[in-house]
Subunit: 192 residues, 4 copies
């Protein structure tokens, strides 16, 4: 199994996830502007999830850039990540249609949390496969962002029951934190 | 991040957008020819949006042809463009199902306008990354079409409230204007 | 625009068309075997269309194999073909859900006919771009199959009003005719 | 037809199948935790099918790794496999929505069985095309797993009428059996 196939397959799945999420924005009945009002939370959830999938796609590439040979472990760790990402459309739709109600928001946080854990497992699997002088391990360094994300997602789950605004703000904070591309890997990758 | 990945991902998203738009043409109930009549505006909107996505795909390629290294800015400007293009199916469906009623037509014009702005931002981001002797800047020259498009789309929004025909004609004019492939970039690209 | 991008984009669209067609087979309500009975015509239409898209994918590859440079004309002739192929899912669903009733069967024949015409236009566009010594022109030779297909599809439209069986048999005949891969192009292509 | 196109097309179809399966998990109505309860069997079926498609994708790659030239026979045997895999979403949805009732579970087993047979036909077609010293034939050796799978799937069909648990356990056993990547082909492939 060479890396290109893994990248192409992951790209395909991510491209489909990012696009079918829009199918949750159902064509409204009626031709007046006010029929769009109930779609606003659905639209906002879509924007948030679109940014998240964009971040995953971006970081996923930088991470795979450091991989040489794809082992069975990497392959399944990657499919595990894609599994949780594939739940983004339904979690996004549920949160949006219920206007950020507590349970759907907590569930959205849970899916984000599991995806972050899956990403972390994939990262660990790659580092282990690279041995002591792992290019990826050097690239991510202390990995503050990677450690903070699952923590903040986990926090968003109880936060959703306190206030939708609180969990929403946590979601946006993590997104903003990652929007800056991971220059650490980028710079190491360039010497590759 | 190399250019091929960006192109492949964008191709994937565009291929999915162009194909899921057809899902807005719901299988009609009944087996008579007259059940197709209410589908006609849905079909016409589909044709229009199909041509638009085809134009974006075509021009997107010519533009990326001039790019060497993909920066984080280009990557996110590209995702921003894909975001607005991903709203084509729902905007198309809303306009079609309401037989080109004013508000849905204006909203369709708005989505087209935002996509044109996003395209323009991506173009600018690429030109800036290329420095003073930008291949893309030379290729697009005065960029009459690129400047006229968002203007005409913006015009289509109030026009939709005057008459559906007026906004429709504006949509068709922009499409026809772009159907001619961008020979400027093509010719510069060939010397590349 | 190089050929690989055109092939990759067409592959993506065809892969999505062939897969979303299955969405027309709605998950039935009820857990008994008899709820599958009304799905049988939907399933049969799916099989037929799956084979057709497979044939188009196969022949499309052999045809593009002979192409060097992609002109704007080839690009739009290709998008025109993809447009008619994108209508396969809805035409298939309409025919299947109405158990091969006359009008939906005739409409299915019409979409097949238009796709065949679009294929023929694409072929002509490629041959013209290749000049007098066209590799594709030599490869297809007399092109009996390519000439017979639109004729048989056109015939299937009135035939559907005589009997669903008649149009169905015509659909199956054309499919069988093409299932044999186009060895003419294959053999010329190999010397390429 | 070169192998890369076949791989890319198969990857595309598999990526779409694995992603549209998630569309069977409909966004629930209501914002309480208890509305998720009826979705649990749908979710479990999704997990199972996701793992299956992952296994097919993995083994498919290892198998194609041994292929040199793609013949018409290989191409159609591959499309035949993709056909049965494309029925996974609807079979998964039917089983999940009916909480593993006998008939839908048996039907799921039947689709798995047909996919396994299609995989076996593709394998045979490749081996035959490679002649006496087939790389794939040496790689799979006795092919215990490949022989056991269709047998166990066939067994799951009557088992579903005895108990949903019995067929469910059979499905899980085959999945676990294959989760270990096919090291036989991998090792031969490496010498390639």
């Amino acid at each position: 199994m060479n890396k290109n196939r893994l990248e192409a397959f992951s790209d395909g799945v991510l491209a489909i996830i990012i696009t079918i999420m829009v199918l949750e924005i159902k064509v409204p009945h009626g031709a007046e502007l006010n029929v769009l009002a109930p779609l606003l939370p659905v639209f906002l959830s879509y924007v948030l999830s679109f940014v998240y999938v964009g971040i995953y796609w971006n970081n996923h590439h930088h991470m795979l850039h450091t991989v040489g040979k794809v082992s069975g472990g990497i392959l399944w760790a990657n499919l595990h990540l894609l599994f949780w990402l594939s739940l983004f459309p339904v979690a996004t739709g549920w949160m949006g249609e219920n206007h950020f109600a507590p349970v759907p928001s907590a569930m959205y946080g849970f899916v984000l949390f599991m995806a972050a854990i899956a990403y972390w497992i994939l990262q660990l699997t790659i580092i282990r496969s690279q041995g002591d002088d792992s290019l990826l391990a050097r690239a991510i360094g202390k990995d503050y962002k990677g450690r903070a994300s699952p923590f903040l997602y986990a926090l968003s789950i109880p936060a959703a029951f306190v206030s939708s605004w609180l969990s929403g703000i946590l979601f946006v904070i993590v997104a903003l934190m990652w929007l800056v591309p991971d220059r650490r890997i980028e710079s190491v990758g360039q010497t590759h």
